[in-house]
Structure formats: structure tokens, C-alpha cells
């Protein structure tokens, strides 16, 4: 049985004329120990998909199953690495990780917990910065804290929502390798959401493109045939690598283009003349997003 299963998922936001069907008919099954990358353009609903898996959102139709059980909410069995790090700025690196460890390993003694926390901080090479606050760290270091926090919870599945897209190219490359190195230590099941096809090929076993939204769905999967550990420079010269990348890109471009043709309607613009405004009309305030706490 697959560890994670998504069956006929669809999700939309809004009602009536503003209803926007983001995802439709998503089927995915992830085996234990597998590293799956979901690649898609920005705005195609990648983050919605990951939020459905981590339980921050619920599907309108279909079901998300983890170990055959339906997901009813977020939980520490799914470690999430957010795109914007989501570290708590008033806590040090150690305390940020500790918050997660305290929650998941509440049965451990203080000393065991401390060892556990230090182990994971050491794993991401942040021991020298252990007492620093997030605002004293660079973007790459912050994301490594986020990685340590997710891994320290010892989750069954690791969900990464564009973890590296806010970083510069150099940091990105080294962090890719580092995440892979850490991942290969205990081969956790991992789902990586990314908009970078190369990143997917370097890191994942299997790449699944997400067609551009609205009504985004998963395309045919592409297996990544390279053996681990992978050497990025070596791979770059490889013909298969280039072909695989071109295939995925071509697929994404093609569905993107067909998408565009479908919506190629003629819009008739109203014939209006500009006039001086009689009075100033202030823009309508954007309705505040309701925040749910519990």
C-alpha cells in the first residue's frame, strides 16, 4: 500500500461568479521512501496541493490518505518546510527547533530532548549559530533551520513547499545537495514542490508536472533514472539529463500553450472616454483574510 494517496482531489476557492477552481481530478500515490517532485508554473496551485496534504486545507472532493487513513488536520507526522521559512523571530535557532521537539517528543527527558535538538542542528551545520535569532541569519541559514525543525519532528513524510525559491542561485545549489545528503541518511518519504525543473531532476526520483491552473491537474510522471548519490556536474553533461529536462519543459510549455488557446476569446472593450473625477473615490479595501487560530 502506498504511504500517501490522493484520490480524485479537487479544490476551489470563492463562490458564484468569483469561484476559482484551482485543482481538479488530482490523483497521486507516493510509496514509502520515495522522493517525488511536483513541478509547475507559479500560480498553478502547487501550494494549494501541499496545503491539502499537510492538512491546512481540505479538498472539496476526493480524499487524502496517509497510511490509508484520511487526513483530518495538520500534524507533526508531516513535516513542512515553508517557502518563507516561517521561523518564529523571537526565538533562537535552538528554541525554534525545540518548539517542535517539545511537541512531538513530550515523553523524552530534558537531556534527551537537548541531545535530539543538537543532533538535528548539527545535521544542518548550524551549531555555531545555535543561539542566534533568525534575523541574524542569512536566507540560506534560515531555511536550514526550517529543515532542521521539520526533520527533528521525525515525520513520516517531508513536505517542501518551494523551499529554495527565495534563495540566490549559489545558496540554492549547495542547499539542494545538503537536503539530499540529509534525506539520504534515513530515506524519508519526501514531496518537493518546485518551479525549477532542474531542481526536481537533481533531487527527486520521480517528477510529476502540474498543469497550469485553473483546473490544474497532474500530468504524466517522468522517472529520473540517475543513481544516487548524484553528481550535479556529471549529470549536466549527460545526454539523458538534457533530454529529460527538455521533455518535461516541453510538456509544461505545451499544456500551457493549449491552455492559452482555450481561453482565446475575443473581448470587446467598452467605448469610454476619460473624464475628470468629480470627487475622489477611495479604493475598496481588500477584505481581510480571516485568521483561524484553533
Amino acid at each position: 500500500m502506498a504511504l500517501l494517496e490522493l484520490n480524485n482531489i479537487s479544490k476551489s476557492f470563492g463562490v458564484g461568479s468569483t469561484r476559482n477552481e484551482v485543482l481538479s481530478d488530482i490523483n497521486l500515490s507516493v510509496e514509502e521512501g520515495e522522493f517525488v517532485a511536483i513541478v509547475g508554473f507559479s500560480g498553478s496551485g502547487k501550494s494549494t496541493l501541499i496545503n491539502l496534504i499537510n492538512g491546512l486545507l481540505f479538498p472539496d472532493e476526493g480524499e487524502v490518505l496517509l497510511n490509508g487513513k484520511k487526513i483530518v488536520g495538520p500534524g507533526p507526522d508531516r513535516g513542512v518546510i515553508f517557502q518563507n521559512y516561517s521561523l518564529l523571530p523571537w526565538l533562537s535557532v535552538y528554541s525554534n527547533v525545540k518548539l517542535a521537539v517539545d511537541e512531538v517528543f513530550s515523553h523524552l527527558t530534558r537531556k534527551e530532548k537537548e541531545e535530539h535538538i543538537r543532533k538535528y542542528i548539527d545535521m544542518v551545520n548550524l551549531t555555531p549559530a545555535i543561539d542566534k535569532k533568525p534575523d541574524e541569519l542569512s536566507g540560506g541559514m534560515r531555511q536550514r533551520v526550517s529543515v532542521a525543525r521539520a526533520l527533528a519532528m521525525n515525520p513520516e513524510i517531508l513536505l517542501m513547499d518551494e523551499p529554495l525559491s527565495a534563495l540566490d542561485a549559489l545558496t540554492r545549489g549547495s542547499l539542494q545537495e545538503e537536503i539530499i545528503k540529509i534525506w539520504s541518511q534515513d530515506k524519508k518519504t519526501a514531496i518537493l514542490i518546485t518551479n525549477d525543473v532542474d531542481e526536481g531532476i537533481i533531487m527527486a526520483d520521480r517528477i510529476i508536472p502540474l498543469t497550469p491552473g485553473p483546473r490544474a491537474t497532474l500530468g504524466p510522471e517522468f522517472k529520473v533514472p540517475f543513481a544516487r548519490p548524484r553528481d550535479v556536474t556529471e549529470m549536466n553533461r549527460d545526454y539523458t539529463y538534457k533530454r529529460l529536462r527538455n521533455n518535461i519543459l516541453e510538456y509544461l510549455m505545451d499544456v500551457g500553450a493549449s491552455r492559452k488557446q482555450v481561453s482565446d476569446q475575443k473581448y470587446i472593450l467598452p467605448d469610454i472616454k476619460p473624464v475628470m473625477p468629480g470627487r475622489i473615490i477611495f479604493g475598496k479595501k481588500r477584505k481581510e483574510e480571516a485568521v483561524k487560530y484553533f
Partner: protein
């Protein structure tokens, strides 16, 4: 050593001394001289200018008041009386001094007089204490209350009372406003249901709060040994000042970054942990801004409230001096004004330092 003292000074809100310290230690003399002039000498010169204008203005007011007095004596009692009045004013006799805006020198004199007065009173107090020490020991042995000094409080004592009132009022405001703010911040329905009440009560004048508190306290507290005027004034100060904290806390709690909430949800924190580990620290910056406003509002309304509640303190000092009408009363009122301003400034600095310690750098989150 140098860097450490600079850091401490900055923390205390005395960052303007930094260039002077660097200058003395011979670090970048040109830049630090400029900085010193900009940060210390310019503010000082503006104060000097202010005192100068004050001096000239009060001299002009003094002269015009004197003129009026002489003119009045002339029209009512004739030329001889006018000359007598002019001589009397020139001689500096207390009975015929023009009563107007006092000059800076007079205010300085009044300030020193107040300090002298304080020294005399503290001397009297300690004398009294020595005198009754034996009696008090006897009374204590008999289970009676000791005899205490009941003379007039000095100016410094009154400052102390005022600070005590503000501290009690702010503490009350904090104890009421922060928990309520958190509770209404957490629930949108509570927020909307209380919003109108808050908006209605927020602009109510301190005087009205005082009367309201008076109505309630008068009925509730019948024990004559309690200091009723102090209770009334500190509760009124608290009620006037708590709104800023209440509004800021509820806003801070309701606008916690969604990312932090997501973290809490992924970690499955329970309600208590969620509030104390995520929501409260995340809204600390706004809560402390609210508390800072609360302290300054409390200090501002305190004078009016003390004045009306007859609670001993700076407010009643100002009012008594005004009613007193002695020849140095005006100068004493101005002294009180400066003291009130300086203490308000200090309180704000203290709150700013506390805020800096307690909050995180939001920009780099």
C-alpha cells in the same frame, strides 16, 4: 569598556552622548565633533533660545502689568499714589508686585525654595520620628497604631505620590486591558460585539471617569482607614489610560502573521501553548506600543484627576498653588510644569527601553 558604556547609554535612551564619548577617546574627531554639535549642542541651543524668549516675554508682561497698576493708582487716587506705586514696584515689595508670568530666574528661585522646603520638611520628619520613637515602641507593645507624621507633604513627596498613583493606574490598566485585549483579539465575533463599547468609552474625558469611579467607590468602600482619594484617582487614571493598550493588544493578536499560525497548526500546539508561545510573543510589539501610550496618557490625565480628587500629588500641588495666590505661586506652578514634563519624558524613555528588550525585529522575520 567604551563600547559597553555606549551600548548602555543607548539602551537608556541617552544615545546623544555617544559622539562626546567617542570624541573624548579620540575617535574620528571631525565626524564626531559634527555629530556632537548636531545631537547635543543644537538641542541645548534651542532650549537656550526658549529661555531667552521666555525671559523677554515675561519682562514685557511684567512691565505692562506694572504700567496698568500705576495708571490705575493715578486715575483712582491721583498723582501721588501713582508715584508711590511706582516706587513700591521698583523696591520689589511683595505687597504690590505685578502678578503675571514669572521670569526664568524667578522660576529657578522657586525651584530652589521648593527643594529647601523639602529639606526642612524631611528634617522635621526625622526629628519627629526620633521624638516619638520611644512612644511608638510603647504603643506597639500595647497593640496600638504608631503615631505618624501628619504635617504638610513637600514637593518631592508629592512627586512620589503622583508616581505611585500612575504606577498603580498603569498596573491596573495593564491587568485589565492585556487579558481582555487578548480574548477579544482571538475571536472576531467578540471583537465586533465589543467594538462599539470600546469606541464609545475611549474618548470619554478623564473628569467624567473620575466622577463615575467616585460614584462607585464611594458606595463600595466605607472603611475610613483606606485612602479613598488615592483609590479613586488611581482607578480613574487606569480607566482613562487602558484603552490604547486594549485596542493595540486586540489588534496585535488578531493580526498575527499567518505563517506563525500555520507553524502552530502544523505542530498541533494546544490552546495555551498557542497563546503563550506564538500569539503573545508575535503581538508583543503592538502590546508594548499600547502600554507606552498608556503610560504617557496616564501621566497626562493624572494632573487633572488629582486636582479634582483632592488626592495629594502634583495635580493638587498645582491647584493649591493656584488657589493660594502667594507671590511665588505662579513660579511654583511653572516649576511643577517642567517637572511634569521631564518625568513624562523619562517614563516614555523607560517604556521605550522595555519595549526594545521585549520585542523582536519584525523586519527580518
Amino acid at each position: 569598556m567604551k563600547n559597553k558604556s555606549i551600548k548602555t547609554l543607548k539602551f537608556l535612551g541617552l544615545g546623544f552622548i555617544e559622539p562626546l564619548i567617542r570624541l573624548i577617546s579620540g575617535e574620528e574627531p571631525k565626524k564626531n565633533t559634527q555629530l556632537f554639535i548636531k545631537k547635543s549642542l543644537l538641542p541645548l541651543s534651542s532650549i537656550f533660545l526658549f529661555v531667552l524668549i521666555w525671559h523677554l516675554g515675561s519682562a514685557a508682561l511684567y512691565n505692562s502689568e506694572a504700567e496698568v497698576r500705576i495708571e490705575k493708582a493715578r486715575s483712582e487716587q491721583g498723582e501721588a499714589a501713582a508715584i508711590a506705586m511706582a516706587e513700591c514696584i521698583a523696591s520689589g515689595d511683595v505687597s504690590c508686585q505685578p502678578n503675571t508670568l514669572p521670569s526664568p530666574t524667578k522660576v529657578w528661585g522657586a525651584f530652589q525654595a521648593l527643594l529647601d522646603d523639602h529639606n526642612t520638611i524631611s528634617q522635621k520628619k526625622s526629628d519627629f520620628k526620633d521624638k516619638v520613637a520611644a512612644t511608638n515602641a510603647q504603643r506597639e507593645a500595647q497593640g496600638l497604631d504608631p503615631i505618624t507624621y501628619t504635617g504638610r507633604p513637600s514637593f518631592v513627596d508629592q512627586i512620589g505620590t503622583s508616581l505611585k498613583t500612575v504606577a498603580a493606574g498603569c498596573l491596573l490598566a495593564m491587568l485589565i486591558a492585556v487579558p481582555i485585549g487578548i480574548i477579544i483579539g482571538l475571536s472576531e465575533s467578540l471583537r465586533t460585539s465589543f467594538n462599539w463599547l470600546i469606541q464609545i468609552f475611549k474618548p470619554v474625558s478623564p473628569v467624567v471617569w473620575l466622577l463615575l469611579v467616585f460614584m462607585v467607590v464611594k458606595t463600595l468602600i466605607t472603611d475610613p482607614s483606606l485612602d479613598k482619594s488615592f483609590i479613586i484617582s488611581f482607578i480613574s487614571v487606569g480607566l482613562c489610560a487602558m484603552w490604547a493598550t486594549l485596542v493595540n493588544t486586540s489588534m496585535g493578536v488578531s493580526t498575527v502573521d499567518k505563517d506563525y499560525i500555520n507553524v502552530a497548526r502544523v505542530l498541533k500546539l494546544n490552546v495555551g501553548q498557542n497563546i503563550f508561545k506564538i500569539i503573545l510573543p508575535a503581538s508583543f510589539p503592538l502590546i508594548f506600543t499600547g502600554l507606552r501610550i498608556t503610560v504617557s496618557v496616564a501621566w497626562m490625565v493624572l494632573i487633572a484627576i488629582e486636582l479634582l480628587a483632592q488626592s495629594p500629588g502634583l495635580g493638587s500641588f498645582v491647584w493649591e498653588e493656584f488657589q493660594n495666590g502667594a507671590n511665588d505661586s505662579n513660579a511654583k506652578i511653572i516649576v511643577a510644569m517642567f517637572v511634569i514634563g521631564a518625568i513624562g519624558f523619562m517614563l516614555d524613555r523607560i517604556m521605550l527601553s522595555v519595549q526594545n528588550v521585549m520585542t523582536f525585529n519584525k523586519a527580518a522575520a
